[in-house]
């Protein structure tokens, strides 16, 4: 990119806007080195369209009145002020929030180790059988969530011993299945770029395969592992379809289901407040994950930027 910009001044005058005589519109349009104002405007316009509604929703969670559209003053009423309806006081709301975070932690804690091990195994194990299971894993990635959710729902409600697991246990089972492919795909992509030299060198120096794995390969994989942890956590706390089919009582309904149930009627800004709390929690999780990622990739210099984080996904 920089090389292009350095080369520009060597080209004739039209590149120097400040001192050139006024050009026609077509001249400006045709200039290959002009700044991409249209694209830039479009991009910022997109970002505004994408994020402003959420910002407005967050704003109205601080509304003093009951309306979600007309501003009636600033207050924390819906967070802890209102004795009946605020997130702090209404048990159905804060239970949902706690449960969502709980589910996120548990599912991530199961999925990431399982997925990383799976990725390592699939990558290094050769043959038809792992190829088949790799195929199944990728299939579980592209299958629509409703198909998987209903399939697991049928499994749990029609196979005797599993019937009592409806609720948290089956939600965890379903969510792990749905999320499993993320760490596998991310870690495998990273493994492709790492190559086998480091492990082979370690083994040449006398390490066992397991030792080489633990002390050489895994540390190299930390960036991918962290990226997948953050991704899985963010995805789980947002999940709707699977947790709804596999929920039992109201105590096992996470925030997404709560919003769905309540938004179709006439909710109060307490719902906005609940969503904002969840937003804050996931923001915290992502920030922690990103900082951990940077900490862990600090040896790799330029690669530890946000764009490499993004490209892991």
């Amino acid at each position: 990119m920089t090389s292009t910009q350095v080369a520009a001044p060597a080209v004739a005058a039209p590149a120097d806007h400040a001192r050139a005589p006024r050009r026609s519109l077509m001249g400006w349009w045709r200039d290959p080195w002009r700044k991409p104002r249209l694209l830039e405007a479009f991009t910022w316009g997109y970002l505004l369209w994408s994020l402003a509604p959420v910002a407005i929703a967050v704003l109205f969670s601080f509304n003093a009145g009951k309306s979600r559209v007309s501003w009636q003053g600033f207050s924390f009423r819906w967070y802890w002020g209102d004795p009946n309806l605020s997130v702090w006081h209404d048990p159905s709301l804060h239970t949902a929030l706690r449960y969502t975070l709980f589910l996120g932690v548990i599912v991530t804690a199961v999925t990431v180790p399982l997925g990383v091990a799976f990725a390592l195994g699939l990558d290094r194990w050769r043959g038809r059988l792992p190829s088949f299971w790799n195929f199944q894993m990728l299939l579980s990635f592209v299958v629509p969530e409703i198909v998987l959710g209903i399939a697991v729902f049928f499994l749990v409600t029609n196979v005797g011993p599993l019937r009592n697991t409806i609720g948290t246990t089956s939600q965890v089972l379903g969510l792990v299945t749905f999320q499993l492919s993320y760490p596998v795909i991310i870690v495998r992509a990273r493994l492709l770029t790492i190559g086998k030299e480091y492990e082979e060198a370690a083994q040449d120096l006398g390490a066992s395969p397991l030792g080489a794995l633990r002390r050489v390969l895994l540390p190299l994989l930390y960036p991918a592992i962290f990226a997948s942890t953050v991704l899985v956590f963010a995805d789980v706390i947002d999940d709707f379809v699977i947790v709804r089919y596999l929920s039992s009582t109201a105590a096992t309904e996470p925030v997404a289901v709560k919003i769905y149930n309540t938004a179709r009627g006439a909710p109060t800004p307490a719902l906005n407040a609940l969503a904002t709390c969840l937003l804050a929690a996931s923001l915290l999780a992502v920030t922690v994950g990103y900082l951990a990622y940077r900490f862990v990739s600090r040896g790799e210099g330029e690669k530890a930027g946000i764009d490499s984080f993004a490209s892991q996904i």
Partner: protein, 299 residues
Amino acid sequence: MARPGGRSKALWPTLALPGVAWLFVLFLIPLYVVLAIAFGTLDPIFRSPVPVWNPLQWNFSQAQYVLTHIVGANGFYGPPILRTAEFVVIASALCLLIAYPVAYYVARYGGKRRGLLLVLLIAPFWISYMMRMLAWVNLLQTDGWVNKALSLGGLFPVDINWLNGRPLTVLFGLVYGYVPYMILPLYAGLDRIQPSLLEAARDLGASKWQTFRRVTLPMSKPAIIAGLLIVSLPMVGDYFTNDLLSGSPNTAMFGNLINNAISSPETTAQGATFVILMFVVLLAPMLYYVRSTRAEEGT
């Protein structure tokens, strides 16, 4: 170069085994259970489904009922399925039209602001989908900001009710909800195109548009296809966007058919048939995606 030979070979299958077992029990078996229910029998009193495990005893009456009511004189399941196809195609195309320029800008011209832009682009991933839809439900109410803006602060009377069953609103919701998923693959793909190739094209005399058309676009084709698949496949199974933004049977999608059928014990077996139908219909694009991913991995 001494290698520990046979002993290392057991490590990798052992690592993969928990994942394999998990997928078998919680992915493959449930799919079989869906078959067993779709082709099972019904309880005489509740008419709830009774799964039949042995394929030789499968009974196809429920499945037949569903399939014969898709097209033809009795075909009332057809329109929602057709409508879903329309919505998905249009919404995916719109997502592409919106996401491509944004991804192109960030990849090529991001410069110093690239980190910030990426953070803002990734933001929707950790904002709950429901919250994003809730935000629009608030704005689209009859006294919401959209109508206020359209009426220019009260100059014109605008009495449009956006949430009373308009296909346009559902389409808008789908595009808004899914466009972030398309931006990242497009960004990754466009980022991989080396600027030197574009410079080379320019040096050879191509104009900006020609460069775009003949170099950038073909090189980003795999990313475009990946992005389209990542966006359209989940969209086919979406039912909650319609429920939140419309709630009317006139905009019912394939996912609503499944969800309605599963909600009542009498039609659960039909719901299972729909699930199988959706899986079969999407099999080709899913397989295509899997194959191209495996090709990239070299497996």
